[in-house]
């Protein structure tokens, strides 16, 4: 029994990591209509940026901020240089999925000769252990949970209480109507790529910090977990992604305790399949996987 309580503790950390990543992913999709399959690779690139800073003796918490900035700048440029021109050209949704997959493949293979095949890890003490009954977490893990809670509150504040958030929701609901009402949708989309890119970079560093070591190959595994959380909550729905992250985080960690940690992604995939069969629109979405594109 205490094994499962401990797994619940790890689940809290997992869901925090997944939530940061999945909210960014789902906002990209919801507002810019772009299923960005290069998301996992941007995460891992940011993790490496923080790794090299860390190796040069800089604290990982500063590395985290720089990783987030890198993710923001990279995602913004990726959209400006590749995705936006293709979208303006009228490339179909499917075409865009293929483009982003090609980008993901290129990124992974451009990184490979630079960072090498081997797994690396941050030079950072894990901090002391903190015990809450059977739940044992490191100080770093507690901090990760704290970061996730703060980020989620900030996203909530952004979407509900700022003009930019209102403009984002309007652009997500109907871009043409939003533009006709005088919302500068182009600038809104730029802001979305910067914000979600920062979330992506932050999530990459946090995920790498939480795991013992990381390598290029982790990008695909990140992506699968994020897709599962985002689709479970209803793609394009930030709050759905938060709920999806909570469920996927708990389910994967509990299954790892009950069964085998090698199958974490497989369990996430099982959840994804169940959702796609039973409720393709996701838990929260009004328009989801079933609605016609556009």
């Amino acid at each position: 029994m205490s094994l499962f309580v401990a797994a619940f503790g790890f689940g809290l950390v997992s869901m925090s990591v997944i939530a940061i990543a999945a909210v960014g992913f789902t906002m990209q999709f919801g507002i810019t209509n772009m299923i960005n399959l290069a998301y996992g690779e941007v995460m891992i690139s940011s993790a490496y940026v923080a790794y090299y800073l860390n190796k040069a003796g800089i604290s990982i918490w500063i590395g985290m901020v720089v990783g987030a900035l890198f993710g923001a700048a990279f995602s913004f440029l990726l959209n400006r240089i590749v995705y936006a021109p293709f979208q303006r050209k009228g490339t179909s949704y499917l075409g865009m999925v293929i483009v982003s997959l090609a980008i993901s493949l290129m990124m992974a293979n451009l990184l490979l000769p630079i960072v090498g095949y081997y797994s690396v890890s941050y030079q950072e003490g894990t901090g002391g252990l903190i015990r809450l009954g059977a739940i044992i977490l490191t100080t770093n893990q507690i901090l990760i949970i704290g970061i996730a809670v703060v980020v989620m509150l900030l996203i909530h504040g952004l979407l509900k209480y700022t003009r930019l958030g209102k403009a984002m929701r309007a652009t997500s609901a109907n871009p043409t109507l939003a533009r006709n009402c005088g919302i500068p949708t182009q600038r809104v989309v730029d802001a979305v790529w910067l914000i979600t890119g920062a979330l992506c970079g932050l999530a990459g560093v946090v995920a790498a910090l939480n795991s013992d070591s990381f390598a290029i190959a982790n990008g695909a595994a990140f992506l699968i977990t994020i897709l599962a959380a985002a689709v479970l909550g209803g793609a394009g729905q930030p709050y759905g992604a938060m709920i999806g992250a909570v469920l996927i985080g708990l389910i994967t960690e509990l299954s790892a305790a009950a069964w085998s940690p090698e199958y974490k992604e497989v369990v996430a995939f099982g959840v994804l399949v169940l959702v796609m069969v039973l409720r393709p629109q996701g838990l929260l979405a009004k328009r989801g996987a079933m609605a016609a594109a556009g």
Binding site: L94, I98, A102, L105, P113, Y263, V277
Partner: protein, 318 residues
């Protein structure tokens, strides 16, 4: 150029042409972005392997563990591989093709491809895990002198390629192919005139699965080996690059793409000395080039080298 090199090239060309024709039917003609295509090839390869291999208790085979080991005579393993590819398409199609929007279909299939590889790698007792199956018997090897066997295998591959090409051309030019194109162009309109898009997609998904399974059987019979490392998801992207470069929806384009991309790339980069740069640089750059090829073609020439012919009713106004 020695004959071994030529034989190798011809067999790989045949397998790639078969795979590209199947992917062209699904992606080019019907518009299904099957990112797990390589899984269907893998299922065919594994099935053909375990049907033709002796049980894993046999003396020479006891270093690996796998299910099956039926030692069936030649055409049966290949037929079994093709059937397995088709059978796998049924549940996958049932989950993916019924309700989901097309871009969700694509990501679901991509995830399936990654996960299937993870499962087979980790579940060793099933198909020998990451090490894969070795010593797969070559079909009818005992009837031939090893020196001439390569020529026989080229002939066998050529016959299969011709059969698949015949099927692909017949499908594209049939009323069924026309309906598929109508669905691809405007699914709602096709539904409105009484076509059932789910049934149309399911059938072409199964046909593609059968052909992919056959290509896997041919490949594993030749290389006598099959492991998770040869069917990672990027392998599917190479085939997509081939179909996009050749011309989506055009069978001749798919054949041309197969010769240009998987075959051509492999042959051209063979002449680059591998000592340049850090280890793994050349294969990594090869993948980068595949990505650039896809993006470049989608930007500059999305219809490919040989565009799909525009089929216009003769009486139509312009």
């Amino acid at each position: 150029m020695n004959s071994y090199y030529a034989i190798n090239l011809l067999i790989y060309a045949g397998v790639d042409i078969i795979a590209c024709l199947a992917l062209n039917l699904q992606f080019g003609v019907a518009g299904i972005v099957n990112f797990s295509f390589i899984v269907f090839q893998a299922v065919g390869a594994y099935t053909a392997a375990v049907l033709s291999m002796p049980p894993d208790t046999a003396p020479d085979y006891s270093f690996q563990i796998y299910v099956g080991g039926l030692q069936l005579p030649f055409p049966i393993p290949w037929i079994g591989g093709a059937i397995a590819g088709g059978l796998l398409a049924v549940p996958v199609g049932f989950v993916v093709l019924r309700k989901l929007r097309s871009d969700y279909q694509a990501i679901a299939l991509l995830v399936l491809s990654v996960i299937a590889n993870t499962v087979i790698t980790n579940a060793r007792p099933f198909l020998n895990g990451a090490a894969g199956l070795a010593l797969v018997p070559a079909p009818l090897a005992d009837l031939f002198d090893p020196a001439t066997y390569g020529y026989f295998y080229v002939g066998l591959t050529a016959v299969c390629t011709a059969l698949v090409a015949l099927v692909a051309f017949r499908i594209v030019n049939s009323p069924y192919g026309r309906t598929l194109r109508a669905m691809r162009e405007h699914e709602v309109a096709a539904t409105a005139i009484g076509k059932n898009p789910v049934a149309l997609k399911m059938t072409i998904f199964i046909v593609g699965g059968v052909i992919a399974g056959l290509s896997g059987g041919i490949l594993t019979g030749y290389i006598t080996f099959w492991a998770p490392s040869v069917w990672l998801y990027p392998e599917t992207i190479i085939l997509f690059a081939a179909v996009i470069v050749g011309g989506r929806g055009n069978n001749l384009g798919a054949v041309l793409g197969a010769l240009l991309v998987p075959v051509g790339f492999e042959e051209v980069t063979r002449f680059i000395p591998s000592s340049i740069g850090p280890p793994g640089l050349i294969p990594a750059l090869q993948w980068v080039a595949i990505g650039l090829l896809i993006i470049g073609f989608l930007w500059f020439r999305p219809e490919g080298v040989r565009p799909e012919p525009r089929r216009v009713f003769e009486g139509a106004p312009d």
